[in-house]
Amino acid sequence: MAEELEIEISPTGQVTVRTIGIKGAKCLDAAEFIARIVGHEQSRELTSEYYEAELQVQQHLNIRNRQSP
């Protein structure tokens, strides 16, 4: 899946940024890049894609810990 940002600029100038296909903290970095250009953040919603990469790291650590004597 392509990594994309969808930027909506409403007729009042309010901006909504959605990340698509970008996993982990990188998706927040991408959205915050736009926030820094436009103004100040009003709200944020972190959904499963954000936690996906961190979850994979955690699972990997758990497996390693189980394998350790």
């Binding site: 969808e6 007729p11 959605r18 991408a30 736009i34 954000y50």
Partner: protein, 152 residues
């Protein structure tokens, strides 16, 4: 699934950038720029007047432009954009036969479009400078602009 940020815009620019945003935006609401002196007939009787200060704005002080104003009109309603004493963008609305609340509503719509135009230009310029690829761009029926960007 995604990360979603909602961002309130902040206008910080010099007068030439503000002018470009104003002139680019007002046409979408049927307003046209006028030379103020040509329309004195508007003032034969005292028009209703209201002023709107755009709080989230700062017009940077520059050698030229800070004392200037942009005047636009539509159907006897005049809107004057200028820089107030604090350096923020101010909009003065006036028109005969309109109530203050009507002028306020028209003024807020104008400010919205100007802000949208400013934000659009700012975002696209910055994306191009960072070599991001705009893969699609559309304007919906409610005038929301939607841009999709690749290359993150």
């Amino acid at each position: 699934m995604s990360t979603v940020l909602v961002i309130t815009p902040l206008i910080i620019a010099n007068w030439s950038v503000i002018s470009a945003a104003v002139l680019g935006a007002v046409g979408t609401l049927g307003f046209t720029a006028v030379a103020e002196a040509l329309h004195d007939d508007l003032h034969e009787t005292r028009p209703t007047r209201t002023e709107i200060d755009i709080e989230d704005s700062e017009i940077l002080e520059a050698a030229a432009g800070t004392d200037q104003q942009i005047v636009v009109e539509r159907d006897g309603v005049r809107a004057v954009f200028s820089r107030d004493a604090r350096g923020a963008l101010r909009l003065c609305m006036e028109g005969k036969g309109h109530s203050k609340s009507q002028l306020q509503q028209i003024g807020e719509e104008l400010i919205g479009r100007v802000t949208q135009q400013y934000v659009y230009h700012r975002v696209v310029t910055e994306l191009q400078e960072k070599n991001k690829v705009i893969v699609s761009e559309e304007v919906s029926a409610d005038r929301t602009v939607k841009i999709r960007v690749r290359n993150w």
